[in-house]
């Protein structure tokens, strides 16, 4: 059960709403993931965390696909349903 209120996008600042639009484009989905919205509940944390994520998950020496696989295996080992 979720123990926090997960903000709707319209509750966020215009700057953060813009970031959410970029997130949808990044994942090619038509909604903003809860994690993105939760992180932006504390913008001083969520904004730099989002920038770090975008930087780390981009193609580099490892492809974005390989990085998503790493993310999946970390989630599996941590038994994280989300």
């Amino acid at each position: 059960m979720e123990i926090v209120h997960v903000s709707d996008v319209h509750e966020l600042t215009p700057e953060d709403q813009k970031f959410c639009e970029a997130t949808k484009a990044w994942f090619k989905i038509d909604f903003v993931p809860k994690m993105s919205r939760v992180l932006l509940t504390v913008p001083e944390f969520g904004r730099p965390y989002g920038r770090a994520s975008r930087r780390a998950m981009s193609d580099g020496a490892l492809s974005r696909g390989q990085k998503e696989l790493i993310a999946s295996i970390v989630s599996a080992i941590n038994v994280c349903e989300y």
Binding site: K34, A56, I70, V74, N78, Y82
Partner: protein, 163 residues
């Protein structure tokens, strides 16, 4: 691959088997026996393991399993298959095994799979990127669990059987 990695790490760390490639003060909690030299099938099996990993000595976790040749034979066959090039290449699988080991805090697994990944071509930049992703997703999985976040995607109907 994730399951085999986790299980081998569990055995190796649980028995405190010495690390393969890094200096370690670990001592096994039970003796690591030398496999019988007059067992031809065992020698073929051990040669295959050494060849697969390009090592001089059979890794301790497999030496442990050599106490029971039948078990080692079958488990090694499964392990080899899991780490062989298929849709995912072997390097990617070793990077994933390294990430799984790091997340599970397995000293044996981190040491073993990092060496394998390097041997198969992982660069220092690649290692940096892999660790960044491990760090990011150890952050968000913890946040998600703490807050009880439910998945964004609804449960999907059962897919085709893996068998």
């Amino acid at each position: 691959m994730a399951g085999v990695t986790h299980a081998l790490n569990t055995v190796a760390d649980g028995l405190r088997l010495p690390l393969e490639f890094s200096t370690s003060s670990r001592h096994p909690v039970a003796p690591l026996l030398d496999p019988p030299t007059d067992d031809r099938e065992m020698q073929v099996l051990l040669d295959d393991i050494r060849g697969f990993y390009a090592v001089e000595h059979v890794p301790a976790v497999f030496r442990w399993m050599a106490r029971d040749r039948g078990f080692l034979q079958s488990y090694w066959e499964a392990t080899r298959e899991a780490f062989t090039d298929h849709t995912l290449d072997r390097l990617t699988k070793e990077i994933l095994a390294f990430a799984a080991s790091m997340t599970a805090k397995s000293d044996y697994g981190v040491d073993f799979h990092l060496r394998e990944a390097h041997r198969l071509g992982l660069t220092d930049q690649g290692l940096t990127e892999a660790v960044e992703v491990v760090q990011l997703f150890n952050t968000v999985t913890k946040i998600a669990d703490t807050l009880g976040l439910q998945p964004d995607f609804p449960a999907r109907p059962r897919g085709p059987s893996l068998g």
